[in-house]
Symmetry: C2
């Protein structure tokens, strides 16, 4: 049974987990706290993929003192050998008597097996403590396993009246510097960013993580035309070889032979009869490529295509205190005729982001 | 000089003033507190136009005890005889020794004269205490005098992506019940509501104050066509004779002769060469008619016309957590080509309103 103290120590473990933010992908953020006689005797968090798991860091800190203590860890301990050995072995060996976790690891290699191994070794395991918070912390990790495909976030920077650019395509800068930093934080949290060619041509974005410390995600351009502009950061600043062109097979073959097309990664998508590329294909290929989360940054056509396909799991809208009138809408035709058919967002929250309002919600596709 | 205690008592006076909300127009809300030896000995607020002023109510409560006390009043006391006698006389007669006010009354009949009369009588007058709060409380009253025309609020109920209806005109209900109540609170604060004929035809609104207690404002339809729908609440439920048709002179003459056109108030507006009616004309007539505040409720064309004319002083947008895609935009063409030319809102704030976000701002026309 969980106690009030369990909540407090799990809260601390969640805090620790957050310190791994932007660095652990494809692993989740995990924090661990070892408690003996009501006192913390060891703490740790997972620093980056390949580094020691949080439990191990905490155990190393506590040393032989760990025997007889309670371990609070924000995710079920692993019981398989990955880049590091199974945590369950280390926990049993250290003489831990109780393990408290919020939630099972959705990774099929663990998913309850870790708990069973611990219980079999005579350790008391308490589950469900701060479950919601733990899932929220790693929402794209949990989303990936639940959905069986990358977790997809749609980001929009718009005026109050829902425009992302003037009719002539001017969009700099709709959102505040604080919001642009928030957008970089979003980038740092995902494995890949998706944009359409109109965004490449109008904004010439670098799509890198600059305003915060973090790893650059893959930069994916969804395009049939391959009409890259003469100056193009995605092609010119590709030293990390993370620019991906998602296009038709013939277009990929053609462009790969050109000087600018070297060193790019090509994803070959099938065409529909009308020649349009399917975002569902892009998502499948991204999944095969090992990406667990995608950030769709626009423009309007790409955002609309993902919404039409029902392939948006989270929406983040930066609403600038501007009125533009006619211009490019954030979202195009979704074939909705009645308000009651509109796409509803749940679990919404909004907060100031510089001069803007940052509005976050989760599409309710089942409604 | 103002002291900390001055702020506390003025805060109380502002609280009292607010109790007159929705009832004092065309007068401002005013509250008053009488303080002697650090203790409140009388309180009052202006209940409705024609009733006693706040100062008088407080004086009546304190009776002869008022002599030697300090009066906190949220607006400069009047020195002219309106429906009630001048407050300055009563204050002097009661033997008040100090008067604290946030701000001068912008009404030309007062506007500093009240302060001079009090000072001439030997009373100490302190000004500027909680000035910002006092002006905010009666923003449309102060706006009316500052602008020399009615204070104009634009209200929009839209989806997150800036749509006020589907392409076929369905708009019920975009906003939550809480937001619809907030909209009635807005109605209760103004002297007139303006809508276009498309709103009358699509929504058939009553434009009355129902979800809160308050006085119905005038209901103004801006229309050239006079194509009222067969069932029309504005014509059918006009027992208070507050429905106004703002149209061309010939159209007014024609419609006034019909059965449905009886009992309506007509405002005759000049036409531009292209036959379009000017919202600036509507605002002039509203001013002459004695309206000090207008609420523009839409639709898109009317909202756009007011924005094009620079005749919006405050914007209140209810943002529902819905994505609609193509549909009727909140705002139409404002002829803006660059983001830096977009209409910026200042002093913005936003807060939850049921499931919605209520976003409030003030257009910065000078930018």
């Amino acid at each position: 049974m969980a106690s009030g103290a369990d909540n407090v120590f799990m809260q601390r473990a969640l805090q620790l987990a957050e310190q791994g933010k932007y660095k652990t992908s494809p692993n989740p953020m995990v924090g661990a706290v070892l408690v003996k006689n009501g006192k913390i005797i060891g703490e740790g968090y997972h620093r980056r993929a390949g580094a020691a798991h949080a439990e191990i860091v905490a155990l190393q800190q506590a040393k032989e003192n760990a025997a007889g203590s309670t371990l609070y860890v924000t995710l079920e301990p692993c019981c398989h050998t990955g880049r590091t050995g199974p945590c369950t072995d280390a926990i049993i060996k250290a003489g831990i008597t109780r393990v408290v976790i919020p939630v099972k690891d959705p990774d099929k290699r663990v998913n309850g097996k870790g708990i069973r191994v611990l219980r079999k070794a005579g350790i008391t395991v308490t589950t469900g403590v701060l479950r919601k918070e733990a899932v929220q912390l790693n929402e794209s990790y949990f989303g990936y396993y639940k959905l069986g495909r990358p977790f997809i976030i749609l980001k929009v920077a718009q005026t109050l009246d829902g425009r992302i650019a003037t009719g002539s395509g001017d969009s700099r800068w709709i959102s505040s510097t604080v919001s642009r930093k928030e957008a970089h934080i979003l980038r740092a949290q995902v494995d890949g960013i998706v944009v359409g060619m109109e965004t490449v041509r109008k904004d010439n974005p670098a799509l890198t993580v600059r305003k915060v410390a973090g790893i650059n995600p893959y930069r994916i351009v969804l395009t049939r035309s391959l009409r890259f502009p003469p100056k193009c950061q995605l092609l010119d600043n590709n030293d990390d070889y993370k620019t991906i062109v998602a296009t038709t097979a013939p277009a990929a073959e053609r462009f790969a032979k050109t000087k600018r097309g070297r060193n790019l990664i090509y994803w070959r998508l099938r065409e529909k009869q009308n020649g349009i590329l399917r975002v569902s294909d892009l998502v499948s290929v991204a999944d095969s490529f090992g990406l667990r989360s995608l950030l769709v940054e626009g423009g309007s056509m790409v955002a609309t295509a993902f919404l039409q396909a029902g392939l948006v799991d989270k929406i983040v809208v930066f609403i600038a205190p501007l009125i533009l009138g006619n211009g490019i809408p954030a979202v195009g035709d979704l074939n909705i005729r009645k308000i009651e058919q509109a796409l509803a967002l749940k679990h919404i929250h909004f907060s100031p982001s510089g001069a803007d309002c940052m509005f976050v919600g989760y599409p309710d596709w089942k409604r």
